[in-house]
């Protein structure tokens, strides 16, 4: 046997051995979710909307934030997920400090730390949610996405105006991630960021987003009073939940 063939054979054996042992040691999500009967749902996404400018901007391109708690997006999310999961799980109402989840520990600027440190919401599920003792808790929180060529990030619910030399584009986004915590150990069974929808906007964003025409742009007034914007964001959230739950194997609602 040639040395090259021996190396390939050895690598194949090692690969098969690792795969078999990994299969034996690690449970899949499906296995972990099989034991779950009762779940509670926590949503902390819809407290504020961010207005950001990108692309060809002036020197001051800081984002602006406005409260939109009155839109009831979190209530809508809990309602939709409850409806989607009811066939498979027994969804029980829970009370929680929404502000605590919305203001949870942010990502570290040292990126490897985010991989090795514990989940920032684990402690909150243990201390801020009542009742305890359910089989699992589903937690929906804001996610982030970079946009354009630079490193700037968008977060949660927002409105982006992207300027170019010849045109400008308006786009809304609803960036969120869903975690499933084990109700006993509080370990994360499953975690996923909502993927982009089919009708993606002009600016690539790693989450649900869609283009808007100028009539949706907020004027000088309070964006919370902009009903067209409210309706567009609500529609975006409602359309993005089923594919995300389906990708997480929580519900087949595509």
């Amino acid at each position: 046997m040639r040395p090259g063939s021996r190396c390939v054979s050895f690598a194949t054996i090692v690969l098969v051995a690792v795969s078999v042992s990994a299969c034996a040691m690690l449970e899949t999500r499906e296995t972990k979710l099989q034991g779950v009967k009762t779940v509670g749902i926590i949503s902390a996404v819809g407290d504020e909307i961010t207005f950001a400018k990108g692309g060809l901007t002036g020197l001051d391109n800081r984002s602006q934030r406005f409260p939109i708690g009155s839109w009831g997006l979190d209530e809508l999310i809990v309602q939709q997920i409850t409806a989607a999961l009811s066939g498979r799980f027994q969804v029980q109402p829970v009370t929680y400090q929404r502000e605590a989840f919305a203001a949870a520990e942010k990502d570290s600027v040292i990126t490897p730390v985010n991989v090795i440190r514990g989940d920032p919401f684990k402690k909150l599920v243990q201390t801020e949610v009542s009742p305890q003792g359910l089989d699992a808790y589903i937690v929906i929180t804001k996610a982030k996405s970079t946009f354009g060529g630079g490193g700037r990030k968008l977060e949660g619910i927002g409105f982006l105006n992207y300027g170019t030399v010849l045109a400008s584009y308006s786009q809304i986004h609803a960036l969120y991630e869903i975690r499933v915590f084990d109700g006993k150990t509080f370990d994360v069974i499953e975690k996923m960021t909502a993927p982009p929808l089919d009708d993606v906007g002009a600016v690539r964003i790693a989450g649900p987003s869609r283009m808007l025409d100028e009539s949706f742009a907020p004027g000088a007034g309070d964006p919370a009073q902009n009903e067209k914007l409210h309706a567009a964001i609500t529609d975006l959230v409602a359309r993005s939940l089923p594919p995300t739950l389906s990708d997480m194997h929580l519900a087949d609602v595509r």
Binding site: G54, G55, T193, D198, A202
Partner: protein, 328 residues
Amino acid sequence: MNLVRLPVRKMFKTLLTNDALPGAAAEQSIRKRDAVRDQSRPARKRRHTNRDFLCTALLALILVPSAAAAEPLVTLPAPPFELPVLPPVSGTWTVMVGVGGEYKPDFEGAKRSMLSPIPIFSIRRAGSTEQFRGPRDSASIALIDFGDLRAGPAGKFVTSRKANSYSELNGLGDVKTTVELGGFVEYYPVDWFRTRGELRQGIGGHHGVVADLSADFIVPLIQRFTVSAGPRFTWESTQATSPYFGIDAVQAMATGLPAFNAKGGPHSVGAGAQVSYRIDPQWEVHAYVEYQRLLGDAAKSPLVTLRGSPNQTTFGLGASYAFDVRIR
């Protein structure tokens, strides 16, 4: 049409022009011509091989069927197990494949240029954006990320310089392949302007230090069409310059060039420009040009003054196709 029996570049031309296949006599003539060419210089032969590869890849890209933007091209089953530390792979991923060609000097300081193929491949979560990247940037990972300020390790692979590949180098001896490892820092004061610095230590062919500085104005003309351009500057230590531009006594005797002790310092200054156009959600094309003027002892080396040129220009062109893969 029996395309398979044609040389690749002929096959490509035939497909584009829709010409009929030449007859057996013509094929024989092509074979004879190729046989004569095979006996010519090795560098020229390599150029043809590269061109064939490039044509094959472009042909493959053209033949890839257009997929709908919305639906994933492939759906794969869920993996049998998951690692606890890593995020789950379920969901939609965007795979990008493509090919590019780079027409650049045969070696640093050379007068003549050569076309080389460059493969393009990336996998990312669907919807996530690719950060701006300059043609001269080394491979890098941002371990520190403030959004507008990013830093982390960087590495570059510098291919070996074989003396027998080019007549200008005969007698100079080979310079082995170098791996340059170090770090980078880049800063975006605004979305449309990037500054970047890299500092790398060579291992292998040279053992010196290389510092690259660049700035790019990144201007989107429309959302799908972006132009970027900016200045470049490179500094190299003596140990990084000497293996490529120094000529010792033995090499001087073998080459007929005067002996030269190349020292480090400012190595090159120049500018680069890049355009990228997203034709549709799947197809993207890009082109770039990078010019650098050698400085200091690199420019003064007899290898450059007598057999090469201090003006180094690189042209690049590429096309890529992105498709979605869904993992259950």
